[in-house]
């Protein structure tokens, strides 16, 4: 059965995580003899820092396992963030936060459905279609607010909700809830089995009578949906409806999925591995930040560490290419 992860598929990302944790412990500053990295406050910071990209990575994993890719996720985050801020700040009725979140997330899910529909019915490559969605969604976000950013959460009406939803105690559990939903979806539902089957061999899945088009569309709808959720959280965390938010976040999401063992060709992968991948990225950024390393140097080191992490988790795998 395509998509079923082997024991090695589960262990390799964990071995990579263990390696990165050891390196993080060794490289962490020790102001009082204890590694700063392991302090609870720092760990919770790190989890918050990876939450937005982690949520995108969950959606990305579902799409990649299904044999696709979604380059629009960063732009959808920006669109959701901007729409939420705009509706929330301009509509003063008591239901405006719910309406703003529903509209923002719904439109992102709708764009996911549109991408999936174009991919399946016009038989275009996912890379091209989601690239177009990436450009279009960013343009829509910028047009909607006339290139401006919307400050939210500064008045008595919007502040309580934005401050509540933007705190670590909400953002991190929201990330974990999305990850759990993605895990259940992929591992325990018929849809999840179909996604893996379609990603493993679309032709075989079609010949077996699986609803390939519907499965793909729903996978992109899911990625759009979670990008919308990430956008609302991003807005609350930064107090800004920012149309330039999430630039290149989709690449970090892909990196998290790949580090976690998801095969880019589709058919294999899972949310636990993606969580590990997101953690690896977050730990690397966090430790470099704790060491006060220049951001440009951080990028270079991260690039090397991503390659090393993927190589490490491929060690021992029968599938080396």
């Amino acid at each position: 059965m395509p998509g079923r992860s082997s024991r090695g598929d589960t262990l390799r990302p964990l071995a990579t995580l263990a390696f990165v944790l050891v390196v993080a412990t060794l490289c962490s500053p020790r102001p009082a003899g204890v590694p700063l990295f392991w302090q609870p406050e720092n760990l919770s910071n790190m989890l918050r820092q990876i939450s937005d990209i982690g949520i995108l990575a969950v959606g990305m994993t579902v799409v990649i396992v299904g044999g696709g890719i979604d380059l629009s996720m960063g732009s959808l985050l920006a669109l959701s963030c901007t729409l939420f801020a705009h509706v929330f700040t301009t509509q003063t009725a008591w239901w405006s936060p719910a309406a703003a979140a529903t509209l923002a997330i719904g439109i992102c899910a709708g764009i996911g459905v549109l991408s999936g529909t174009v991919i399946t019915h016009l038989r275009l490559q996912p890379f091209i279609v989601t690239l177009a969605a990436m450009i279009g969604a960013r343009g829509l976000a910028r047009w909607w607010v006339d290139n401006s950013t919307i400050a939210v959460g500064y008045d008595e009406r919007t502040r309580p909700l934005v401050e509540f939803a933007g705190q670590k105690a909400v953002v991190v559990p929201a990330f974990l809830a999305v990850a759990l939903a993605g895990f259940v979806l992929l591992r325990f539902t018929r849809f999840g089995r179909y996604v893996a089957a379609v990603g493993g061999s679309e032709e075989t899945a079609r010949l077996s009578g699986l609803p390939v088009a519907s499965v793909k569309i729903r996978a992109y709808a899911f990625s759009g949906l979670v990008a919308g959720i990430a956008g609302v959280l991003y807005c609350c965390e930064t107090h800004q409806g920012d149309p330039k938010a999430g630039m290149a976040y989709e690449l970090d999401a892909i990196a998290a999925a790949v580090i976690g063992g998801t095969r880019l060709a589709g058919g294999r992968g899972g949310i636990p591995g993606t969580l590990v991948g997101a953690l690896v990225l977050g730990i690397v950024s966090n430790v470099l930040g704790l060491n006060n390393v220049d951001e440009n140097v951080q990028w270079m080191l991260k690039a090397g560490i991503i390659v090393a992490a993927v190589w490490l988790q491929r060690l021992g795998s029968t599938e080396r290419n």
Partner: protein, 346 residues
């Protein structure tokens, strides 16, 4: 296949049908020096930010008062995007451009190319050595020193200070940072045109203050917050955060609040983000140095309009039109905030 082709052609036809250009009503508007066509200007920012929203309000007010057209362009992706936008307005023909250069040192040649085609001025951040006609902005080095004074006011006993900024390639960011550093280290005032910059890795410490680092985020708000969180974790005895760009302090403030260090870590800011001003009202931010971006927009339109009419008397000797910065503290914040809301609504 034929059906798909038809749909594609129909969609393309509809797109072109919708692309008709809208001709603005320019009857009675001032014309350029040749007296032929209405004056058209462009105002190019260095990114998208609430700061530029206020500047855009000044641009609109200036354009309305003077009866000219001025397009505001906000490049979302940095230097390359800014260059593309400027090339676009030059291709369309424009009577003047006000630019906030992203990378002053490396944009001189490009600004010179633009200056050969139209009137070019810089605003907010300068590109010294280029052929721009003048620079409209505050003295960023002086403003940096004002921020340093705010740090000294709130932290007279001294301590560790961390600086946060979007990117350090911009001259205004370099000058502000240097102003803060020089003030805290009690160095003599440097000349505004020939400021010597300390390297990021330099040891910056005297008997009272230690500047433990300068963190950049490339305009990524989430990264800005992460930087603040990491700084709080790394330096348990951090006493003050200085944000050089508008969005830095709101993110610093959020990180300080979440770490439960409100009051312990003092905050000093630049510009006038809502959260910064609310933070001053609440007592969580000591003060901010405001650049008056509205005036950047308004004055840019005024100067470019005069230049388009052939009036070069608007360029002062030295080519620097200073917009005085305003220091906002608890005593004047409410009045400042109220006026700002009126400007934004315009």
């Amino acid at each position: 296949m034929k059906k798909q082709l038809f749909v594609l052609m129909a969609a393309t036809a509809m797109m072109f049908a919708g692309c008709g250009t809208e001709t603005p009503d320019t009857a009675g508007s001032p014309t350029d020096a040749a007296g032929g066509k209405p004056i058209r200007l462009a105002y190019v920012t260095n990114g998208i930010d609430p700061f530029w929203t206020i500047a855009a309000a000044g641009v609109r007010a200036g354009a309305k008062d003077l009866g000219v057209e001025c397009e505001v362009l906000m490049p979302p992706k940095g230097l390359v995007d800014q260059k593309r936008m400027i090339e676009g307005v030059l291709s369309n023909g424009v009577d003047g451009i006000a630019i906030s250069p992203i990378d002053a040192a490396n944009q001189v040649e490009f600004i010179n190319q633009a200056a050969a085609l139209t009137n070019v001025i810089t605003q907010d951040s300068d590109a010294p050595g280029s052929n721009r006609l003048c620079f409209i902005g505050m003295d960023n080095y002086k403003a940096g020193r004002q921020a340093g004074v705010l740090v000294k006011e709130v932290l007279p006993e001294g301590g560790k200070v961390m600086i946060f900024v979007g990117r350090l390639e911009q001259l205004n960011a370099q000058q502000r940072r240097q102003g803060v550093i020089d003030e805290l280290l009690d160095r003599p005032v440097q000349s505004g045109t020939d400021v010597r910059f300390d390297l990021a890795a330099a040891e910056l410490v005297n008997a009272r203050y230690e500047i433990v680092g300068t963190r950049t985020d490339n305009f990524d708000y989430a990264k800005a917050k992460s930087n603040a969180e990491d700084a709080i974790a790394t330096f348990g005895d951090l006493r003050c955060m200085v944000g050089l760009f508008a969005y830095n302090v709101p993110n610093c403030l959020a990180a300080v609040k979440e770490a439960g260090k409100t009051g312990t870590i003092k905050i000093v800011s630049f510009d006038e983000a809502d959260d910064t001003l609310q933070g001053i009202i609440d007592g969580h931010v000591h003060g901010t140095v405001s650049q008056q971006p509205y005036q950047y927009g308004y004055q840019s339109v005024r100067v470019l309009t005069a230049l388009a009419k052939g009036d070069k008397s608007v360029i002062p000797e030295g080519g620097f039109i200073e917009v005085e910065s305003v220091v906002v503290r608890k005593d004047n914040v409410e009045d400042f905030f109220a006026k700002l809301k009126i400007l934004r609504a315009e």
